[in-house]
Amino acid sequence: MMNCHLCNSDSANIQIQIHNHLLQADQTIQLCQSCADARGISPQNMKREQIESVIEEINALQGQQVKCDKCSTTLLEIRKNSQLGCADCYDKMGNSLETDLRRFHKRSSHECLPVIISEKQKRQRQITDLKKELQISISNENYEKAAILRDQIDNLSLL
């Protein structure tokens, strides 16, 4: 049996496939008999408006669950206010927001594009990467490599 997208019980027996024009993709909704009955949906009798309101309900449920650890902004709040709370929201909810971003911008990433960054920022990024590598080396007890990395970090920090 499948999981119901609304009550999460494993007794979903109705599967609805709908084309979402905004997201330009097919979306599948799974419902159990009791959730479908409560909303007046049956395989013989369903209207687009009913399905759209179910999609909104599912989005709201997902939005309440996904939350930024740093600023506590939920996905639902972002969709409602069109405002993210902090840079970490993009890390935490970036994947969930990809469809929305694609809808606004027709693209979902800024990769492969040249970005003007200063020497100082370049060094900061190198240091951050090296620090991550250092942690891995220490946890693997590769102390020789860790010593080299530590010196590299010190040299970059002095510049």
């Binding site: 405002q83 970036g94 911008h105 990433s109 900061q124």
Partner: protein, 352 residues
């Protein structure tokens, strides 16, 4: 009484150009970059202490710029409503600034108002450069150079996947917004405007009214700006707008020529009506007056009104804008309604 320097209250609106050429379609353009500080939540979620810290960081970076660019700085919380409205009419503050401003929102401005920075508004930092006529490439390069200079002292929130991170997902990526103000009277009079607006929207461009009110378009002036920022560099966006603008300009010029050739009376009537209303009205209301004065301005550019000077009209538009007029009339002419004062000012120029 006055808390803004005289320059801001008396000089003509910076977004009105002085070109009295009949081919003049672009009034002015503006390019802006929105940025946020690394490690501090965006203004809508930041605490008072975090906002203060962010403001100090940005201010320090701006003070280190060589040569100094911003002789004027205003704490928005210290300004009166009237001052803020006046700055909004000059397009130095966004129309929706009230929904985002807080105690640490500051506006920095250059001498000629062409460069401005807004801190702790929707994002921690927004720098805008504007210019008269079509100078898109120049202002787009300038705003990026300025951002690069500021980045020597400050680190912006950036991710390899999403580019520069902004509070609004509509700006993430380049954080770059570029816009032009265009006068599309020819397309409007020939009923071709809807086609152009639909085509622009489909191509990823927003068309808004001058005053961000999308029901009325005073003086047939439209603001075209980019919708898309993620996955596009500022150069790509500027180039696309330049291409779009050259197409719209050629369409508009064709329509103006067609009008002048086939039905010049249509233009004469279109400009003559507001001229008569302004000349004989006794109460001039702000929105209506702006629309009618902008039409007179178009009349001067199309050589329909030969006896008026474009600079005089620009000054009159400035002086009769709601906040500008209220600013100068505070405490004086108490016996007259502000609409009467506005009407008298207009008639003093036109009746000459």
């Amino acid at each position: 009484m006055s808390s803004l320097p005289d320059h801001f209250t008396n000089s003509p609106l910076p977004w009105l150009n002085s070109t009295s050429d009949c081919d003049s379609i672009v009034l002015s353009c503006e390019a802006s970059l929105s940025r946020n500080l690394q490690g501090i939540p965006f203004p809508n979620k930041a605490s008072a202490t975090q906002l203060l810290k962010g403001q100090q960081k940005v201010q320090n970076a701006l003070m280190k710029l060589e040569p100094p660019l911003f002789p004027y700085s205003f704490a928005l919380a210290d300004l009166r409503d009237l001052d803020r409205d006046l700055l909004s009419e000059r397009r130095l503050l966004p129309a929706n600034f009230e929904s985002f401003s807080n105690d640490q929102s500051y506006l920095y401005c250059s001498n000629d108002e062409s460069i401005s920075c807004l801190t702790n508004s929707e994002d921690h930092f927004k720098v805008s450069i504007s210019g008269k006529d079509n100078c898109l490439n120049e202002i787009s390069q300038k705003v990026q150079q300025l951002d690069f200079q500021i980045q020597q002292h400050i680190q912006w929130a950036h991710s390899p996947k999403f580019g520069y991170l902004t509070a609004s997902p509509l700006l993430v990526g380049s954080g770059f917004r570029v816009s032009v103000l265009v006068n599309l009277v020819g397309l409007e009079l020939n009923g071709q405007l809807n086609k152009t607006v639909t085509a622009c929207n489909r191509l990823g461009w927003n068309i808004n009214s001058l005053m961000n009110d999308n029901e009325r378009f005073p003086g047939n002036i439209y603001q075209i700006s980019n919708q898309r920022t993620l996955g596009y560099t500022p150069e790509q966006t500027t180039r696309s707008l330049q291409e779009l603008l050259s197409q719209i300009s050629s369409q508009e010029n064709n329509q103006r020529k067609a009008l002048a050739f086939r039905s010049p009376e249509k233009i004469l009537d279109y400009i003559g009506r507001p001229y008569g209303r302004l000349l004989y009205s006794h109460l001039a209301f702000p929105a209506e007056t702006l629309h009618e004065l902008l039409l007179l301005r178009t009349g001067v550019q199309l050589k329909v009104l030969q006896n008026l000077d474009i600079d005089d009209i620009n000054q009159l538009i400035t002086d009769t804008m709601n906040a500008h007029l209220n600013y100068h009339q505070l405490g004086t002419h108490a016996e007259l309604a502000i609409e009467q004062v506005r009407s008298q000012k207009i008639q003093a120029l036109i009746a000459e």
